[in-house]
Subunit: 194 residues, 2 copies
């Protein structure tokens, strides 16, 4: 049932592959299937404006697997506008961070799904780009959207399976990716000001 | 017209404020309004799978303002699944990166709009969180979406204006934010496999 979805079409016993702890992954899926409340996660970031258009976020704790989780370390990330857009280039632009998140989500899924199917990967690279017409965010036109008009992802996947099977892994990753869903569908966002 | 949107309701001459180069920002808006082809941007990231669910992206060049732009430096960013989800925690999860991108986009907008309105900011912090039911991405349920069920952003803004004016700045930032649009609306994504 559960593991069948991710593991199909192999019937091999799960074994660790290319850094993916496949037996633990299957055990996690089975545990969550048996106790759906373990599936409730809340991810968080705290951000602080530095100066100009430069912002720094701290990412660490989250709620999940039935309780508060602390990684024991903070991840720190910067973002800024480019100098071409009068920023100071102290980090990637926010829109570029979305491309990173999308590429990373699809790639992690590819690695997990390949391992679950018993296919060892050698190399996965992606080039991802998104088109934007800045007349939206600059307030010049109300007919142009603020965000990306479209995003293109080009994967190059090398592993011990024919191209068609590698392609199916990428398709399954898209079908189960959190960020692919966030980008391609609507997510409600509430903004409060203290 | 153009500058009116972002600058409203002030009539003051633009001056640099809290690190925002306001005169250059207004000049950029006017230049793009006069030459709309300058508004066409393509943002990019290149990602490489490292091992397990760990991916590393490189962000640098982009197309915009009429030509290819090179920052003269690469930004490097990692992403991974958490150990709770059988990853190795070598970076924030892809879904957390989306929260960072959203917080940073709104914050940069707040800084620019405040400067355009002649309001000096002292401090802007945000806490952002998103709820996810992992039965989607784990393939346990087809009735649960893969992405966030909802995202909450709580801003704390301190500056030389009454709370109502600071709140209006946050609202205007949402109205003109690239990432807010990407998250709250649909973006077409094409995925190719080489």
């Amino acid at each position: 049932m559960t593991t069948a979805t991710i593991a199909k079409p192999t019937r091999k016993e799960p074994k660790p592959l290319h850094g993916v702890k496949t037996p633990e992954l299957f055990a996690t899926i089975n545990a969550v299937a048996a106790q759906p409340e373990l599936a409730k996660f809340t991810w968080r970031a705290k951000s602080r404006w530095m100066r100009g258009t430069h912002t720094r976020s701290t990412i660490n704790g989250y709620f999940g697997a039935g309780g508060e989780q602390d990684r024991g370390k903070d991840f720190i990330a910067d973002a800024d506008h480019t100098t071409v857009l009068t920023g100071d280039d102290k980090g990637p632009t926010p829109a570029e961070w979305i491309l990173h998140g999308l590429a990373a989500c699809l790639t992690a899924g590819i690695a997990n799904i390949a391992a679950a199917r018993g296919i060892e990967l050698d190399e996965v690279t992606a080039t991802i780009e998104g088109d934007m017409d800045l007349r939206g965010i600059l307030g010049i036109s109300d007919e142009v959207r603020n965000g990306y008009q479209g995003i293109r992802v080009r994967f190059d996947v090398k592993g011990d399976a024919p191209p068609e099977k590698l392609k199916q892994i990428v398709e399954q990753s898209c079908a189960r990716s959190a960020v692919f869903d966030i980008v391609t569908n609507r997510t409600p966002v509430t903004v409060e000001v203290a």
